[in-house]
């Protein structure tokens, strides 16, 4: 499946036109990650957002004996988006837990420029990013009360 079709199944791009999806695909860079490889580390600066197109990642906070695994994310999910929204350090560590995990990387600078140049893309993606963060918060709340 080509990148354009993959992006159609990603929630944050829900509502974009075919032309707009083509614009997004031009700022994506594919990265292959092996199981156990760390993609983002809690506390470090973050200048990229990631879209999982194959495989799985594990999201955790803390380290060593204080590490706490929060959730696993599969294809179609995003991570690293908080750094794009608030420009703060990484809120969690994310590592691949499946071999041949494939992520699409979007640099913050490219993301900001695209949203500024096409405000419809900016509105749709920002609205969907808010929805994704809301979904993760609801998941977290339900996990805490299980």
């Amino acid at each position: 499946m080509d990148l354009h079709n993959l992006l159609q199944d990603v929630e944050i791009f829900n509502g974009l036109t075919e032309t707009e999806l083509a614009v997004i695909s031009q700022i994506c860079q594919e990265r292959l990650v092996n199981s156990g490889e760390t993609i983002t580390k809690q506390g470090e600066p973050g200048g990229e957002m990631y879209i999982i197109t194959e495989g799985f990642v594990q999201v955790s906070i803390g380290s060593g004996s204080k590490e706490r695994i929060l959730v696993n994310l599969g294809a179609g999910q995003i991570f690293g988006e908080m750094a794009l929204v608030d420009k703060g350090p990484r809120s969690a560590t994310v590592k691949a837990i499946a071999n041949q995990t494939v992520v699409q990387v979007i640099r913050a600078d490219d993301f900001d420029r695209t949203c500024n140049q096409n405000t419809h893309i900016g509105f749709i993606v920002m609205r969907n990013l808010a929805s994704d963060i809301s979904f993760k918060l609801r998941h977290r709340n339900l996990s805490e009360t299980r």
């Binding site: 959730v71 696993n72 179609g76 979904f135 996990s143």
Partner: protein, 75 residues
């Protein structure tokens, strides 16, 4: 084509749960494999109203070691 974004939470297990995009809506009685463990869906609720082709569900699961053939093989 509809996409079902599902929040899986596991009761009675240390498994952290998962968020996945599925082709079918989850339903009670589904058998899912998350990592090396097999779980049974025991409760499903719509987490948020659908928007466009995307639907949002939460599924509570329990450990089901007797199940051998999962409906979905997830991480």
């Amino acid at each position: 084509m509809a996409t079902y974004k599902v929040s899986y939470v596991i009761t009675g297990s240390d498994h952290p749960g998962a968020i996945l995009s599925m082709r079918d809506a989850p339903k009670v009685g589904d058998i899912v494999k998350l990592g090396n463990d097999i779980f049974e869906v025991i409760e499903v609720l719509e987490l948020m109203p659908p928007r466009g082709d995307f639907h949002y569900f939460h599924a509570t699961c329990r450990v089901n070691p007797s199940a051998e053939t999962p409906d979905s093989n997830l991480q």
